[in-house]
């Protein structure tokens, strides 16, 4: 699951941090890997590409240290990602929300450079200064333009130190600001015209960007910028079991923080929600026999989690505490029918052709008919 990165943890609060950085949380694994790693390392890499892949995918080292898997998914994806960083091309991680893009990028940066904090969070208001450099205006007024008055961006620091920089939500950044990355990625240099100087990227510098490929109204990358990236699409969980597992785990965590009573028989309903989401998302039933139309919503795992959490809250506060079809039906309808005209037809078709005839789904069918009517 995506775990939002926070960059504000300070030295003093490291132990108290709500969520420590990857390089701190898994410091022992990283050092064990570094000790065991005898393969060639690219300049300024803490580990060899092979060891970075092992760090992400998990494994057991010769000395018996167990490396926990950070990413559960196709091996190919991690290999391509790591190799991309090693070939000095920038890496673009694409995927719908909730596919662990940020998580992967954080761990990649931690394993490659030992530092995952050189981060630019992309928003519609991200200014050029966040990618290039800003000025300390007091200094600037007092002493005139100089390197001392310059406030470097995370990207600039990564360039001068040969580290891995991260840009979150690249496609939210306005197009003109995005394009400042072109020079950085192709010329590997950042000019400072005010001083007549430039910062040249040191070997080991690279950049990992993440972007959401299903969001509406994003700023598409210009083809010039796109060309500088190798793209890796992070898929949704491959099997229903994996997804049910992720959903129940997260629902459990969220439920505890919201003090919702645990629902003992909820897992059947979770399985149902996940099945509905997967079938509509993939456009085919789980038995692979019937094709379906896909609605316009993303129907990501994250949404399944929110539907179930919502249903649990309903059951806890207004029902008998047991998660029932009626509690999730409204949530599912809301998640599926994003476009009132087209999606409603798709949903009804799904109800009539698939749900109605499925064994043991009668209650669910009835509940859905009720909320759809």
């Amino acid at each position: 699951m995506t775990v939002p990165a926070t960059a504000e943890a300070t030295e003093a609060a490291r132990d108290e941090a709500l969520r420590p950085h990857a390089e701190d949380a898994f410091a022992h694994e990283l050092s064990a890997l570094a000790a065991a790693d005898d393969r060639p390392r690219p300049a300024r890499w803490r580990l060899s590409p092979w060891a970075v892949a092992t760090y992400l995918l998990g494994g057991t080292l010769p000395d018996g240290t167990v490396i926990t898997p950070k990413y559960v998914g196709p091996r190919r994806i991690v290999e391509v990602a790591v190799t991309t960083l090693a070939t000095d091309r920038a890496l673009l991680l694409l995927g719908v929300p909730g596919t662990a893009k940020t998580w992967v990028s954080e761990h990649l940066a931690a394993a490659v450079s030992g530092d995952s904090t050189l981060l630019v969070q992309g928003t519609a208001g991200t200014p050029e200064e966040a990618i290039r450099y800003g000025w300390n205006y007091a200094q600037l007024l007092a002493h005139g333009p100089s390197r001392d008055a310059l406030v470097p961006s995370p990207v600039m620091r990564a360039m001068s130190d040969g580290m891995t920089a991260r840009v979150e939500e690249l496609t939210r950044i306005p197009a003109d600001v995005q394009d400042t990355l072109i020079t950085i990625l192709s010329e590997k240099t950042l000019p400072i015209p005010e001083l007549g100087q430039e910062v040249q990227a040191v070997r080991g510098f690279n950049l990992i960007a993440t972007a959401n490929d299903r969001d509406r109204g994003v700023n598409d990358l210009s083809s010039a910028l796109r060309r500088r990236f190798n793209t890796v699409v992070l898929p949704l969980p491959a099997t229903p079991e994996a997804e049910v597992d992720i959903v129940s785990r997260r629902v459990d965590q969220i439920g505890r923080s919201l003090d919702l009573p645990a629902a003992p028989e909820g897992v059947d309903e979770i399985r149902r929600v996940v099945t509905v989401f997967r079938e509509l998302r993939d456009g085919v039933t789980t038995d692979g026999r019937t094709k379906l139309k896909s609605p316009s919503g993303t129907l990501s795992t994250a949404e399944a989690i929110s539907v179930v959490t919502n249903g649990l809250a309903l059951a806890a506060h207004f029902g008998d505490g047991v998660l029932r079809p009626g509690d999730v039906a409204a949530g599912i309808l809301g998640a599926v029918v994003r476009d009132p005209a087209a999606d409603r037809v798709i949903w009804q078709e799904y109800l009539e052709t698939v749900v109605r005839e499925r064994d043991g789904w009668k209650d669910f069918y009835r509940a859905c008919r009720e909320v759809s009517a």
Binding site: E79, V80, L94, T231, T290, E349, E352
Partner: protein
């Protein structure tokens, strides 16, 4: 074991163990043959093929081709030995032909393998190529997979990749790596290493394979012995790597011969047939398949830098498809592929690495363009060719046989035949002609029949043109019998069809051709297209054809259960999608949708489990009239269809009509409603009868019409004209009479009818009942049968009328019949005051009558004022 020794002193045969269709093996074989220059080359393949060897040298022969052996009396029993340009067997064959060396095929003769395939004692599940019906059976797919064991030993998780790394990726001496256990410069060493590995495997695991393998190996040893006698010890053998240790083993000729005793035999013929890369690919269902013939072909054809050239090819393909791919992309992809290979510890970037690189660099992480690359490049579209003088394909033989048994001679002269499908022989002829049409062999064209249009008759125009022989030969790639070929072709067409209508048409053709084996695939495609098609119009168009197919299926007694299932699914989708699709339509769209409404309504009753679907459909119809956003013509039509089905009480219909014709409604909309409700149309010429028999509805229309303002009248006039001019003259006249007489009559449908000029007042029920037996007889109904039989009886009745010379009107007989029956029911309901079969309807009629009695005065006043 006897390892092959250095090429200078050939004392033992040169045993070249290969992986079938491996380009690396092919290169290695060529290098080894060049070095050793053997006087004879023995190849694993059916010895019957020896006679056809000269054809391989023909310049019109271009791989991929296959040796095809089939049983003479049963072309369906066939086996293929496919060879691509990069197959070691083909390379060896061509080398021998070019260098004047003798060539022999040394595998067990097809005459035995084909017989064994049929014989239950030999059915051991080991497919090999000898058994064409056995899909996904790899050449090395024995009880243990020798390659998998070797790969595991070498630390690979995927046997294919191990083979690629160790064997396929060796260039001819220029490879950047030497394969383990072999020196890139000694062309024979790699075979030695492989043979040793196989020998070790066979020692550890036994022979692993089924008994048939032992027999084949015994036969090969015998052949090898014979060849050594004839050509000396320097002969070369090209066979699957697994067999090498067995061929090198020391056994006595007597022992081998005793193994071969008593093998079953069948008379076989053999020929070369063109093959395609697609059929070489594993998933197309033949043994010894490979995943990526296109990639292997590329590896075999390029002189050097395979990855660079491959990625350039990919970039070219993507550019042709209008994707922007620059040279910089190619450079980056090559770099990424190379680095990936290094990271994965492979000597050279393979297909997996290049695909990963192409996805990340050129396709922006998307799998969609990759599918194109897989289809066009990795598999490839290469089609082989065979010289014309190759022996006839079994399909032609099968056709000849069928022509003989069905007494249907191929004649160049055009001639028409009429087939009566109720006769066995004629039905078989019809199926044959339909199958041939499906295969693109246009021997017969369906012609307009002279004698009626019954579903059991068919007319054909036959003409056999010489080029049809070529067509048959071309169709030979699909299968060895007409039935199998047509089935395969239909399945492939179903998979590639894009539009829903195409698939429906295909389903119809499959039924006509009696291809019940192809139906599941076609139905799957149909269900898929229907699920993804968002246009209700398309679905509605597809449904009647399906319903028709169901009826054809009945005539031809094909199994149509799957078809019915799909049709039901389709109907359900229409039920869901129709209401939203009926809003926001312009006049033309509304008229079209009205047509769909009628067609679907008719078709839905023909479905097998009609109750369930008609329930849904009725709910949809009930929803429609209540929606103001639905055009008037559709609302009116829906109300009428419900009324005809007895699902709408008559006073409810009157209420709906009153609502639609109330003063607030724009006149044009109201006129459209009338058109929908009482309008005739194809399949419903008797729409006006309703007005004749229901005085109240007529009164409503009359009242509305007289209330239309003068300025709006000219707008609605064309619509009304269109509606009423479609009525039969008799109906129009009666309506005119009724309107002229005015609504002063005492109301009630029974009375109104009685007052038709020329009839006495009141109904003499006893006399009227006297007609019923005759009517029943005419309609072919049983005395007891209820309404369920009505549909069929109506259809028959209508058909009879058609044949009697009345203008058919181009309508669907079923729909017409249905209309007729409804009218009859209506009469019955109106007259048969005490009749038990239609109590509810009667109740409605009586209610209607009494209601009219009450409201009659007011109505009359209003109308009177209007006049």
């Amino acid at each position: 074991m006897t390892a092959p020794t250095a090429p200078t002193a050939l004392t033992a045969p040169l045993l070249l163990g290969v992986r079938h269709h491996g380009p690396g093996s092919a290169r290695a074989v060529r290098a080894a043959l060049d070095a050793a220059k053997p006087p004879a080359v023995l190849i694993e393949g059916p010895p019957e093929g020896d006679a056809l060897l000269p054809l391989a040298a023909d310049e019109r022969m271009s791989p991929p081709v296959a040796l095809l052996a089939h049983a003479v009396d049963d072309p369906g029993r066939a086996a293929f030995w496919p060879m691509a340009e990069f197959s070691p067997e083909w390379v060896a064959l061509r080398w021998a032909l070019d260098h004047g060396a003798a060539v022999r095929f040394i595998d067990l003769p097809a005459t035995h393998t084909l017989a064994m395939a049929k014989d239950p004692t030999w059915e051991d599940g080991e497919g090999e190529e000898a058994d064409a019906g056995e899909p996904d059976e790899m050449r090395h797919g024995l009880r243990i997979d020798p390659i998998a064991v070797l790969a595991e030993t070498a630390g690979y998780d995927d046997p294919e990749r191990w083979w690629e790394d160790v064997i396929e990726h060796r260039g001819t001496g220029s490879a950047p790596n030497g394969p383990p256990g072999g020196d890139g410069h000694d062309p024979i060493a790699v075979f030695t290493g492989l043979a040793e590995a196989m020998a070790a495997l066979r020692e550890t695991y036994g022979h692993g394979g089924p008994d048939r393998d032992l027999i084949r190996e015994a036969y090969m040893r015998l052949q090898l012995r014979a060849a050594r006698k004839e050509y000396g010890d320097g002969v070369a053998v090209v066979c699957g790597a697994w067999h090498v240790p067995a061929l090198a083993a020391k056994t006595t000729a007597t022992a081998d011969r005793s193994l071969l005793k008593g093998l079953p035999k069948v008379k076989t013929e053999i020929t070369w047939v063109p093959w395609t890369h697609r059929r070489l690919a594993r998933h197309s269902g033949y043994g010894a398949g490979i995943d990526s013939p296109g990639w292997y072909g590329h590896l075999f054809a390029v002189p050097d830098r395979p990855v660079e050239r491959w990625l350039t090819k990919v970039a070219g393909l993507l550019r042709d498809e209008d994707r922007i791919v620059s040279s910089a992309h190619v450079i980056e992809a090559v770099r990424l592929a190379g680095t990936l290979a290094t990271m994965r510890g492979r000597p050279l970037a393979g297909l997996t690495e290049t695909i990963d690189a192409v996805r990340a660099v050129m396709c922006e992480g998307s799998d969609v363009p990759l599918r194109l690359i897989r289809d066009r490049l990795i598999i490839g579209d290469v089609l082989g060719e065979v010289p014309e003088d190759a022996p006839a394909v079994p399909l032609q033989r099968d056709l000849t046989r069928l022509q003989r048994t069905l007494r249907l001679k191929p004649e160049a002269l055009e001639r028409d035949i009429d087939l009566d499908l109720r006769k066995e022989n004629d039905a078989a002829r019809s199926r044959l002609l339909h199958r041939l049409r499906l295969l693109g062999v246009g021997w017969g064209e369906p012609a307009a029949g002279r004698a009626g249009t019954g579903t059991f008759r068919e007319s054909w125009r036959l003409r056999w043109e010489p080029e049809l022989h070529v067509r048959v030969a071309e169709a030979g790639v699909w299968g060895t019998t007409v039935l199998a070929a047509a089935t395969a072709k239909a399945e492939s067409e179903a998979a590639s069809a894009t539009a829903l209508a195409e698939v429906t048409a295909l389903a119809e053709r499959c039924l006509l051709a009696g291809l019940s084996d192809a139906l599941p695939a076609v139905m799957k495609a149909l269900a898929d297209r229907a699920a993804l098609d968002a246009d209700v119009g398309h679905l509605a168009q597809a449904l009647p054809a399906l319903a028709r197919s169901l009826r054809y299926g009945d005539v031809r007694s094909t199994d149509t259960a799957a078809l019915g299932e799909v049709a039901t699914g389709l109907a359900l989708r229409i039920c869901v999608g129709l209401p939203p699709a009926c809003t926001g339509l312009d006049a033309d769209g509304a008229a079209e949708m009205r047509g769909h409404l009628d067609a679907v309504h008719t078709a839905i009753r023909l479905l097998p489990d009609a109750e369930d679907v008609t329930g849904h459909w009725a709910a949809v119809l009930r929803k429609l009239p209540a929606r103001d956003s639905v055009p008037g013509v559709i609302r009116g039509r829906a109300a009428r269809l419900l009324l005809d089905d007895g699902r709408l009480a008559e006073d409810e219909a009157a209420r709906l009509m009153g609502l639609a014709l109330s003063p607030g409604t724009p006149p044009a909309d109201a006129a459209a409603w009338i058109e929908g409700f009482v309008g005739g149309g194809p399949g419903n010429p008797g729409g006006g009868m309703l007005l004749v028999h229901d005085e109240r509805l007529l009164g409503l229309v009359d009242a509305w019409l007289t209330g239309v303002p003068a300025e709006a009248f000219t707008d609605v006039l064309p619509l009304l004209r269109r509606t009423f001019s479609a009525y039969e003259p008799g109906v129009r006249r009666t309506l005119g009479e009724l309107v002229r007489r005015g609504p002063a009559a005492n109301g009630g449908p029974a009375r109104a009818e009685a007052a038709v000029p020329g009839f006495g007042a009141g109904l003499d029920e006893a006399r009227a009942d006297g007609v019923l037996p005759l009517v029943r007889m005419l309609l072919g109904m049983n005395q007891d049968s209820g309404d369920e039989d009505g549909g069929d009886a109506g259809a028959m009745g209508q058909g009879a009328v058609n044949e009697g010379g009345r203008e058919a009107g181009g309508g669907d007989p079923g729909a017409m019949g249905q209309g007729g029956v409804n009218q009859r029911d209506r009469y019955a309901g109106g007259r048969d005051q005490g009749g038990g079969d239609e109590g509810a309807r009667d109740q409605g009629a009586r209610d209607l009558g009494s209601g009219d009695q009450g409201g009659g005065e007011e109505d009359n006043d209003l109308v009177g004022a209007g006049r």
